[in-house]
């Protein structure tokens, strides 16, 4: 049953209520979430950590009629190894991911990325799946899952499907997620022996979204370089990584930096214009490559 939020809340929130009126459903099972999504479609929004959604509501940038709170659904949280995969539940908090020894060992890139996400209070609420669903082009985790070739598990009343990170991120805040779907879990291929990961980011202030960032993963099969904060979604730098394919040397780093212009065409934002971003991306590439060389 849906409770009109305004009525139940008014007594307590009275004059501080800033968001437009919405109804609120505290879901206790995935089935309940599927039904509500199927019924309300675009008018409904899933509430996970609320660290992106609630500010958007308060600024009235988003005006859903129904919020479906998935926080009570225990099945959506947790981190475990399943064969060659590390499975991270969509509702797992950033802070849990950051503190997990499994993640540190099997997905060191993600382990390195977590401290760059916002501040501790936000990491205590914000979730892994929420971050991917939000698909902020300057966010850390979308870049990581792309660099790691992770697979996202999406589910709805219609059934389940697995979507690779490569197919998931489509455009600015746009993903492969259908209006009636939920991200349930993410499978990250376990890092084989000898994997080297480097995560570097430039932000004006600690915890800010990245000005430019780079998730770099060197595996036997090749080098993956995924930049973020440089486009409308995380961007894989194929030309730069090709330039380093034969092994990392000082000359090849310079060549890769030059090649980056073919991979990236960053739009400017409030903090920096496109040229500055490209320059900074080159600097990060150089630093990451040298770190990989040393590792």
């Amino acid at each position: 049953m849906l409770t009109p939020a305004r009525e139940t809340r008014r007594a307590r929130w009275e004059d501080v209520l800033k968001a437009p009126s919405f109804a609120y459903l505290r879901a206790s099972s995935l089935a309940q979430v599927f039904d509500a999504l199927a019924e309300h479609g675009e008018d409904a929004r899933i509430l996970a950590g609320g660290q992106s959604l609630v500010p958007a509501l308060n600024m009235r940038l988003s005006e859903p009629r129904l919020l479906i709170d998935i926080n009570p659904i225990a099945a959506l949280t947790g981190i475990e190894r399943r064969g060659g995969m590390l499975r991270i539940g969509a509702l797992t908090r950033h802070s849990e991911v950051g503190a997990s020894p499994l993640v540190a060992r099997l997905a060191p890139l993600i382990h390195q990325a977590i401290p760059h996400i916002a501040h501790p209070a936000i990491r205590n609420r914000g979730t892994f799946g929420g971050s991917l669903a939000q698909a902020d082009p300057a966010a850390e985790l979308p870049a990581c899952v792309l660099a790691l070739d992770a697979v996202l598990h999406l589910a709805s009343r219609r059934g389940e499907r697995a979507v690779s990170a490569r197919d998931f991120f489509r455009a600015l805040y746009e993903t492969a997620l259908a209006p009636d779907e939920v991200i349930t879990a993410i499978d990250v291929p376990v890092a084989p022996q000898g994997t080297r990961s480097v995560f570097v980011e430039l932000a004006r202030r600690r915890g800010d979204y990245a000005l430019v960032g780079l998730a770099a993963e060197a595996r036997e099969v090749g080098l993956r370089l995924v930049f973020f904060g440089v486009g409308n979604k995380p961007v894989e730098a194929g030309a730069a990584s090709a330039a380093l394919a034969a092994g990392i040397t000082a000359e090849r780093i310079a060549a890769a930096q030059a090649a980056l212009a073919r991979d990236l065409d960053p739009p400017g934002d409030l903090q920096a214009d496109g040229a500055t971003k490209l320059h900074l991306a080159r600097v990060l590439l150089g630093r990451a490559a040298r770190a990989l060389m040393a590792a």
Partner: protein, 792 residues
């Protein structure tokens, strides 16, 4: 019997010069503060404002019918509805010759002149309902060309924003002292730079808030507001609303920071008062963060072209500056928006000996939010320009920048001193401050470290910045210009029957610790424990009359009033105790809540006995004894128009020349604010001020596009300095007491903000110098540094 001098300073139990816990800190930290938003009154209404989405647009028609029918909505008003209730205001000061501005109204009439100007107001049962209704107000706009930049506004042929004013020049001033042209002609080196300072804003933790309660029965208005100057606010209400002096009360409970943002008259707040009068119900308005960015005053936005002439031997021969600033479409009422530029003209170069000084100031109207006084008004600009030139000059003649300062700072023995622009310095300590700084930071050691690291490709910079700060202003600041702003403050001190003390004072608490400072002084003079003093502030009906918090005046002026009031009460208490004990009052003293024998310190009677006798047992007192257990004193600075303070700041930072990122490693401040009442509060004023200055230097900027639209009006996009980026800030003090007061305290509130940006800019330029680059545009962002390095 030896005559004991009545000085509380050397008493063993004095609180002066001691860092004591703040009595109100626990309550505030527990979240029990009472801010305007915490006040709930019966039948309370909430106001929300429709603000102009355009920088400049004609309002052709407003249809409020649909909004008025929304649930919970009590009234929707536009300018026409308030016309008879509130008279317009004009933000000029008459002593700033030639200043002009246009009449301003609570809601824009016919035309909006900045993005964010309030156009219509909704009063509803809840803020949410008021906001819902805003969406239903239909405005027919006709966009007009914006005039966002000050340059464009003053360009020949530019259209006047206000037809009646003729042009967009709000104020201009020129100073020409000494023989400037001569000095430049005979100089061995002349350095020149154009410095720019971005617009930024105050970002108070508690946004602007007001609750107006009007009782139509007796026509009484009570304003609960988050303000620095309650008595000024009352005068403003009396000037513009049809209310009697007896019928207006302004109450400021806890105030969550203000920094100068909360001493101005804001149209939305005037509209809230008008709504309360119109509706006969209490009306509350709390600005949200988004509207704060477009409706709070902004500050700075200066472009200063500057030159300095110097001799080969390191004598500064002359300084010349030309400042252009943009202040929005109206000069802010009642302090005006010309003071910042005026201070820059006055302050620049004033701590150096050179007598040759030329300055030009132009203050322009433009279609951006009004700009006005924010912490350290004008100082950071005057300081960055002066100190930036000094470093350039040092480089030009290959002299160490510390040495160039040493050779030119006014000598500590030379006071009183009059600066070329006419500022009077009573007694400052620049030379001693510089020496203390060089020792504190181990200047020579740092220079060595810098050289060693440079050889390893690590680029560090050292920046110095001497400064003065204007504090304790007298009536020459605003009063003579016709503004209803009191430069004096008053304090009443009363002994309670139980021996505790109640003190009511007109300076106000904004979270900076005013009440602690006052309690320290009163407790010390009266010989009672700090916990036995209750300080009352922020209520026009309960405190003496006075100016409040602004221009770093709380301790210097309010503290002196408290000292004198406490002394008067002390004399009265000793008179009464003398009558009770049949002793000469001069033979008695008060210590730790007891009347004691002055000579031996032996306890005679407790203060509570004096209180009880005075209030309840007059029958036991000798005939003709009239106890006066309350005393009031006021203090007004007279001898000098301002009490200047001085100091020097230094910054040590590391520059990443590939990314343009700056890491602040350490910051030092040596300052002289005269007598310190609480070193803890002084240090925290300095540190907080430095952080705001670092914000200006590196982060804060209201980014406007050519259409006059703010592009970063949220706390996600507008970068305030955060703890992780801040360096350790070490503070050291000199104490040159202020003459003409017994307390000897000067102000401290703005010194940190005054000098920090200059120190950081100089340190960055010091790191850049070997690379042949320099920056002069604040905030100094990575992109600006990379551009200076030619890497972009």
């Amino acid at each position: 019997m030896s005559e004991r001098p009545l000085s509380f300073l050397d008493r063993p139990n004095s609180y002066i010069g001691k860092s004591v816990p703040r009595p109100n800190a626990q309550r505030l930290l527990q979240g029990r503060g009472v801010f305007v938003d915490d006040i709930r009154l019966p039948r309370l209404l909430h106001a929300a404002f429709l603000r102009s989405p355009y920088a400049h647009a004609r309002i052709k028609h407003i249809d409020t019918a649909a909004a008025s029918r929304r649930p919970g909505v009590v009234r929707v008003v536009t300018a026409a509805d308030l016309a008879g209730l509130c008279t317009p205001w004009v933000g000029v000061l008459t002593h700033l010759k030639g200043m002009k501005s246009a009449p301003q109204h609570p809601l824009a009439r016919d035309r909006a002149c900045w993005q964010g100007e309030p156009v219509a107001a909704v009063a509803a049962e809840s803020r949410a309902e008021a906001e819902d209704a805003l969406a239903e107000i239909a405005v027919e706009w006709e966009e007009l060309p914006p005039l966002a930049s000050a340059e464009a506004a003053l360009a020949p042929g530019a259209r006047a924003i206000h037809d009646t004013l003729g042009d967009n020049l709000a104020f201009a001033r020129a100073v020409d002292a000494g023989a400037v042209d001569d000095a430049f002609a005979r100089a061995d080196a002349v350095v020149a730079e154009t410095f720019t300072f971005a617009r930024h804003t105050g970002v108070c933790p508690e946004p602007r808030s007001i609750l107006a309660e009007f009782d139509p029965g007796d026509r009484r208005l009570t304003l609960y507001c988050s303000s620095q100057a309650p008595h000024m606010m009352k005068e403003i209400v009396l000037r513009h609303f049809p209310l009697a002096e007896t019928d207006v009360r302004v109450v400021c409970r806890d105030v969550g920071g203000s920094y100068g943002v909360k001493i101005h008259v804001y149209p939305d707040e005037m509209a809230v008062i008008a709504l309360a009068l119109l509706l006969g119900r209490p009306v509350k308005f709390v600005a949200d963060r988004l509207e704060s960015f477009v409706s709070d005053i902004h500050a700075r936005e200066h472009r200063v072209a500057a030159r300095m002439a110097v001799s080969r031997t390191g004598e500064i021969l002359a300084i010349a500056i030309d400042d252009l600033t943009g202040i929005g479409p109206y000069s802010t009422y009642p302090r005006s928006s010309a003071v910042e530029g005026n201070q820059i003209v006055g302050l620049t170069g004033s701590w150096y000996r050179s007598a040759n000084y030329r300055a030009r100031l132009r203050v322009a109207f433009q279609t951006k939010p009004p700009m006005s006084q924010y912490r350290a008004v004008g100082h950071p600009i005057a300081c960055a320009v002066t100190e930036g030139l000094v470093d350039l000059a040092a480089r030009a003649i290959a002299m160490d920048p510390a040495e160039l300062r040493r050779r030119n700072l006014i000598a500590d023995e030379a006071y009183p001193w009059k600066s070329p622009a006419g500022l009077l310095f009573e007694k400052l300590s620049h030379q001693r401050a510089l020496e203390r700084m060089l020792e504190l930071m181990d200047y020579e050691g740092l220079r060595r470290e810098q050289r060693d690291l440079r050889a390893k490709g690590i680029h560090r910079g050292i920046g110095l910045a001497s400064f003065v700060e204007i504090t304790n202003p007298g009536p020459a600041f605003y009063g003579v210009g016709g503004a209803p702003i009191s430069a004096q403050d008053g304090c009443s001190v009363r002994l309670e029957p139980g021996g505790s003390v109640t003190c009511a004072i007109s300076v106000t608490e904004q979270g900076q610790g005013t009440e602690t400072m006052v309690a320290q002084i009163v407790a010390s003079v009266l010989g009672v424990a700090l916990a036995r003093v209750r300080v009352v502030t922020g209520d026009t009906e309960r405190t003496p009359y006075g100016g409040g918090t602004w221009a770093s005046r709380g301790t210097g002026i309010g503290g002196e009033a408290a000292l004198q009031a406490a002394k008067a009460l002390r004399a009265n208490i000793l008179d009464l105790a003398g009558a009770m004990l049949q002793a000469a009052p001069g033979d008695l003293d008060i210590a730790e809540g007891w009347i004691v024998d002055a000579e031996t310190g032996a306890r005679r009677i407790g203060l509570e006995e004096v209180g009880r006798a005075g209030y309840f047992r007059g029958d036991t007192l000798p005939p003709l004894t009239q106890p006066e257990l309350m005393a009031t004193r006021h203090h007004q600075p007279r001898d000098y128009p301002f009490a200047f303070t001085n100091g020097v700041q230094a910054s040590w930072l590391e520059l990443d020349i590939e990314t343009g990122f700056v890491r602040l490693l350490k910051h030092w401040v040596v300052e002289d604010c005269g007598r310190m009442v609480s070193p803890l509060l002084v240090d925290e004023q300095i540190r907080g001020g430095v952080v705001q200055g670092l914000g200006a230097a590196l982060f804060e900027e209201c980014l406007y596009d050519a259409a006059g639209q703010l592009r970063n009006g949220t706390l996600a996009d507008y970068l305030v300095p955060m703890a992780a980026e801040m360096p350790d800030i070490e503070v050291a003090h000199l104490e040159t007491p202020l003459a003409g007061t017994e307390l000897g305290a000067k102000g401290i509130g703005e010194a940190g903000t005054a000098g920090a940006p200059a120190a950081v800019m100089n340190a960055i330029n010091d790191a850049l110098a070997p690379l042949g680059a320099r920056v002069s545009e604040q905030p100094i962002t990575p992109a600006r540094i990379l551009r200076a390095l030619g890497r972009l």
